[in-house]
Amino acid sequence: MKTLNIGICGFGGQGVILSAVILGTTVVTKRNMYAVQTQSYGSEARGGQCQSELVISEGPINSPTADKKDILIALSQPSLERYLPTLKAGGILIVDPKTVTEIPTDVKVVQVSATDTAVNLGNRIAANMVLLGFIQAATNLFSIEELLDVVKDYVPARFIDLNLAAVHAGVELAKSYGGTF
């Protein structure tokens, strides 16, 4: 792997930025890799469109953003429409069918029922953790233990059990999907 460009987009409050930060922290601090995370969002304090980019590489990274993403994770219909053009030809689009209603057919799409899974665990706020678990299992960039270790550092103490359960559920979803990309 030379570099991997990941885009995550959705509404503010869906954990778009936190997800990218956790992924970046895991590869940098657990796998000794390099990563750059940037974000852009509207001026609203809550809600509004939100997008985060993560570039992962085995060596130092110059340009902090990439025009084309290897993986695009879209968590809302408007953000999907806006950022789909940034998906590289042959790249993978990950969507949550609960929040993205019109799923494109001309790209490689992976549907992850993150919201439903999180709701079943008790709180839809953990949907992003389901996705992180899914990405762990699907990419194998790092181990589940490494991911869980980082998640523990970023989530409030009272939500740790919920979030760890959500990560595990995401890993299970990936197994049913068929393992790695």
């Binding site: 970046g24 922290t25 940098v28 601090t29 390099y34 995370q37 110059n62 340009s63 980082v150």
Partner: protein
């Protein structure tokens, strides 16, 4: 623990982190010994204040949110005279206000560090448009030391260096941060505390009867005296003699300002910091600084891939201008291209130093986002043709 290092409270967070640029700035300051911070809220510099408010009290330092920028800049100048290693942080519009206090800090030779997270006018988008205001903004004759980091790692490293230069030269030192790197998270390696060089100002060995506040050799730096210990130092912005007394005498005035400016301009070789990439066989040099270093290095690679002999001169210090190195490079090149995120301000300095030794060109852009490597490549090809 590595989640932006949030759960440690030691002064130096040695280890590998994935850290926000603004946080790395704070950790660099703490590693350099910073024990005083005053700031006023402004985006995109707020994470610096917020983390300082959390971190400084943990290590015995003082944090103040001033009632405005003026309060902040004067509080750090005075805390510095009281012996503190003091810092403030703001973004472009806030920096305007700082000019007033910077003039004072220059005049009384109060070491301090000022972080300016450059942003577009009224909006939090990327720019390098303050490069001249950081050099020339304050009234009166002065020299400035301005460092231009290009990554989260350099926000840490250069902030340490900024404190060291401030202490060494008794002058404000500016860290020219940018929205791009300040709000970016990136790999940051903080070495062990024993491997971080920390310089402290020199205190006088003389007693109050022999000591004179501003007595220093030509182009030199006066020794410091503590406050409240009978040294009766007079720290006035007005023209002053070596004992600090207010003295209007053209000869005294000229001598004072020659030393205050000379201690920096005549030590350019000590202060200047540049890095060279593939310049040895190059005939085109890209000269750049700050976040623009990043796409410029990618552009160099693209150009090399298409057979063009391109190298990069990265300016870690933008002021004083690394004239010696720029001249050396210009002599070996057919062309020097300045890459920057503004209407083209520093390019004028580079062209002044190149002074006809080779062709010059500019890649300038100011639309809230840095150059792409491809855009820079286009300029290289244009110069080639």
């Amino acid at each position: 623990m590595t989640a932006d290092g949030q759960r440690q409270n030691s002064r130096v967070l040695s280890g590998v982190h994935f850290m926000l640029g603004n946080y790395a700035t704070v950790e660099g300051a703490l590693a350099a010994g910073c024990d005083f911070f005053a700031g006023y809220p402004i985006t995109p510099a707020n994470e610096i204040s917020e983390r300082m408010a959390e971190r400084l009290p943990q290590v015995g330092g003082k944090f103040i949110q001033g009632e405005d920028e003026l309060c902040s800049i004067y509080a750090i100048a005075a805390a510095s005279l009281a012996g503190a290693k003091a810092m403030t942080a703001t973004a472009s519009a806030g920096y305007n206000y700082y000019q007033e206090g910077i003039e004072y800090a220059v005049a009384v030779e109060a070491p301090c560090v000022i972080v300016n997270v450059q942003r577009c006018r009224g909006e939090n988008f990327a720019t390098q448009a303050d490069i001249m205001q950081m050099r020339w903004g304050a009234a009166g004759d002065h020299e400035m030391i301005v460092l231009a980091p290009s990554s989260v790692q350099e926000l840490f490293d250069y902030t340490v260096r900024a404190f060291n230069l401030a202490e060494q030269f008794r002058n404000p030192v500016i860290v020219a941060s940018e929205t791009t790197i300040a709000l970016m998270r990136e790999r940051l390696e903080i070495p062990g505390a024993d491997r971080i060089p920390v310089l402290n100002r020199k205190y006088t060995d003389l007693g109050p009867d022999k000591y004179k506040t501003f007595d220093a050799p030509e182009n030199g730096v006066p020794d410091f005296s503590p406050l409240g210990k009978g040294y009766h130092g007079l720290y006035t912005i007005n023209p002053h003699d070596i004992d600090g007394s207010i003295e209007w005498d053209p000869i005294v005035y000229e001598k004072l300002y020659k030393r205050i400016t000379g201690k920096i301009s005549e030590n350019e070789h000590i202060i200047s910091h540049t890095e060279s990439f593939q310049l040895d066989d190059a005939d085109i040099a890209l000269v750049t600084y700050g976040s623009e270093v990043r796409p410029t290095l990618d552009a160099m690679e693209l150009a090399r891939n298409s057979g063009l002999k391109v190298g990069v001169l990265k300016l870690g210090t933008v002021w004083p201008v690394p004239e010696t190195r720029i001249r050396e490079v210009a002599k070996q090149m057919k062309a020097v291209i300045t890459v920057e995120m503004s209407i083209g301000k520093y390019a004028g300095e580079v062209e002044r130093v190149v002074a006809g030794r080779c062709v010059t060109a500019r890649a300038t852009k100011n639309r809230g986002i840095g150059h792409t490597a491809e855009e820079i490549l286009e300029v290289i090809k244009g110069v080639r043709a």
